[in-house]
Subunit: 447 residues, 2 copies
């Protein structure tokens, strides 16, 4: 049958990591490594597990400031400190061979020459596995660490980001792929006719070039984006090859997928040259109940004060006045400062999962984004649906706690996906572009 001859669509999987998980209670989970922020051996074991499971990429979360929160919450947060991503991923490149290495670099608080150079270098060091997550940096605290009095305004950040991208990719194209003949006999190291000096002069940057690094193994490292604002989506459509988005549910993901893929086509690109990988928090259990219990457990490890503060933000009113061990009272009649959608989401969640105020607070203080919680089979079903219904090309997987939660994903969920033919059993290539099925960009200055 013709249907059988057609290769089945497959998922792409990236891991969205913080050394001790993105969940703020995870460092207290039984068996967790609370010292992982500065214990490289744990990070080596995590990335090696992900590579053994054939993940496309390992993405390390990043911030250019200590997150701004009240000291009572801050002192309980493992986010205050971590390795810097370039140094970390370069080190991890030496203990892995295939998995992609994605790092964030800010277009607001860095220089295109530096960024072009570091990603090119990581791409060379890793044999073509680097990816640049373009961020404009949303955290206003960052400005204060970079000699500014206030954060750069949103639209301005996105204009600067677009030009920053042009400069960086132009610098990557400084040398033709065949520029270096290194002829020991004649003494000619490279062909100057295969070197392009960028001479960029724009609104935000003047960068002469050329970059002092040979063209990256992948041509350009893979371009990643996460923004979901209007300018964020437009920047992604024009430049990104993978998008780590954060839809709330299947329906909003389908709308986002159609929106972004449409913009990709409108920008003159092929739909399949941008992979939409929604972030999803995954808890695997032996039964659905077991998985739900694990989740309640990790949520319960968020300190109640911190948790209730997060819930109050989500509700737009002080949640500490409610009985923590009762269900959320009917709020429809109360005034609120929160957006209707946000507040409705909280109420829906509380009802669907029969959560007490305490449990709901743990959810908002822990990780409140999209989640798949169940058995390998139920989660594989959900993933297949998302792929089939064009809500996703794969996922950016958030482990609920480490190492146990990650082990369950790599050792239980991934084999189920592989059994169904939804995920690779072996890497076919060696570069991240090959894993993601992305073309190697042509050099804009040379054939």
């Amino acid at each position: 049958m013709a249907d059988q001859a057609k290769p089945k669509k497959q998922l792409h999987l990236a891991a969205f990591m913080r050394p001790v998980s993105l969940h703020s209670g995870a460092w207290r989970y039984p068996g967790a490594y609370p010292d992982a922020n500065f214990n490289l051996s744990h990070l080596k074991s995590f990335i090696q597990k992900l590579e053994a499971a054939k993940f496309d990429a390992f993405f390390m979360a990043d911030h250019l400031a200590v997150l701004n929160m009240p000291v009572e919450a801050l002192k309980r947060s493992h986010t205050v400190t971590s390795f810097e991503p370039f140094t970390l991923l370069s080190a991890l490149s030496q203990v892995t061979t295939h998995i992609g290495l994605a790092a964030t670099a800010s277009t607001t608080y860095d220089e295109p020459y530096h960024v072009a150079r570091r990603f090119a270098s990581l791409d060379h060091l890793s044999g073509g596995r680097a990816a640049w997550n373009i961020v404009t940096t949303g955290n206003p605290e960052t400005a204060l660490n970079f000699s500014l009095d206030e954060h750069v305004e949103h639209a301005e950040r996105y204009k600067r980001a677009r030009e920053f991208y042009d400069v960086v990719t132009g610098l990557w194209d400084s040398f033709a792929d065949d520029a270096f003949m290194r002829d020991q006999e004649t003494g000619v190291f490279f062909d100057p006719g295969r070197l392009h000096t960028l001479n960029h002069k724009g609104e935000n940057f003047k960068v002469k070039g050329p970059l002092n690094i040979a063209r990256p193994v992948q041509g350009w490292p893979v371009i990643v984006q996460a923004g979901q604002s209007e300018p964020g989506k437009q920047l992604a459509a024009e430049t990104a090859e993978a998008v780590f988005c954060a839809p709330r549910d299947l329906e909003s993901a389908k709308a986002l997928y159609a929106d972004i893929k449409g913009r990709v086509e409108a920008a003159g690109r092929k739909r399949e040259h941008l992979k939409l990988l929604p972030a999803v928090f995954i808890v695997v259990g032996d039964t659905v109940e077991d998985a739900k219990e694990k989740r309640l457990k990790v949520d319960s490890l968020v300190h109640h004060e911190t948790a209730i503060a997060s819930l109050s933000v989500a509700l737009g009113q002080d949640a500490s006045k409610f009985d923590p061990d009762s269900p959320l009272p009917d709020l429809d009649i109360l005034d609120t400062n929160a957006s209707k959608t946000g507040r409705a989401g909280v109420i829906k969640l509380a009802k669907e999962e029969w959560l007490t105020v305490r449990q709901l607070a743990g959810r908002y203080g822990g990780y409140s984004g999209l989640s798949f919680v169940g058995t390998p089979e139920t989660i594989a079903d959900e993933m297949a649906t998302w792929l089939e219904e064009e809500a996703a090309d794969g996922f950016t997987v958030v482990s609920p706690f480490l190492p146990e939660g990650l082990d369950a994903i790599t050792d239980k969920l991934v084999p189920e996906l592989q059994r169904r033919g939804l995920f690779r059993k072996e890497y076919k290539g060696t570069t991240l572009r090959e894993h993601l099925g992305l073309p190697r960009p042509k050099n804009r200055f040379f054939e």
Copy 2:
């Protein structure tokens, strides 16, 4: 005897590296790896040899631009391209265990928050082996890659450097060494009373802090400096713990040593807390003649046009008019634009070594700084003299060509130094500070 009880002074050795050597003809030397700029396996073998020889540190040369030279010279230069040092050294940290890792970061074209963060991260990743070579960046081409129209003026660069240093070291002290209790039971990750927010407001920078990284393993990574201008020497005396200087000979090195050590004391520091490590180009042969021949050989591999241009600069006049295969004519009666000292140096060198114009040009086009060329015994004699006469605390060793020239240093010269008790046979500690005999800096904000 009391003399025997006193521990003998020992040399410190750092390697000053470019992937295919600092000598511009070295990539053509028999057995050289011209692809080493992007072949990590060669760099791994170099650093592992240096570590087996118990070197203190591996220092990677760096530039923030393609070096400015005429295209005919540029096309013959392997300096156009290389790994970026942070990514490179982070990768190499995973294939070594003891050797120090020194990288350059510019105080003119980077941000203190970024620099503090990357060095702290490299220090954590490597178990306390990072060193920061503070440079103000002398190459005017760099400005054009960082949205400036012209290079920042010299005195201004040094004022900025001094403040940059204060901010970076202040950020490294953001957390007390014992700030992190990570108590899973109580849920307290760190003690906010052991966190200091810098709130730096200076002439050049406003940096709030704190840094989002725990205090480095070494307290602060080792501070390195190379400048020899007046403000350079002063900055070194106030801040540096190792100085990669470039004196021309023993006498000028002694003067520089006395000058800098005096300034160190005047700045209220201990003399021995700054190690002076002059850069020296070392060619080891089976005989002195053999070593000299090797040097002539590598010098001869610099293309004559490039070489003669370098000689012309050194002489202050066009050297292409001289017969390349005759000795340098008597120049005392000729007009020259070169400094008298520089020109006298060329003439002295030509006479001492009986060099033809072609050979002299190869020297200036290749590497014309301080050199020790001879057998393991004669070079060890020279090193002992420099140590004894307080011209150096050790050396920053430049390999003439790789791998052969490096192998001769690690396999022949180092054992001779060890036999004489001038160099360690085993590492005593694990951090670069321990190798260099430097104290761990106290946190300025916490006991």
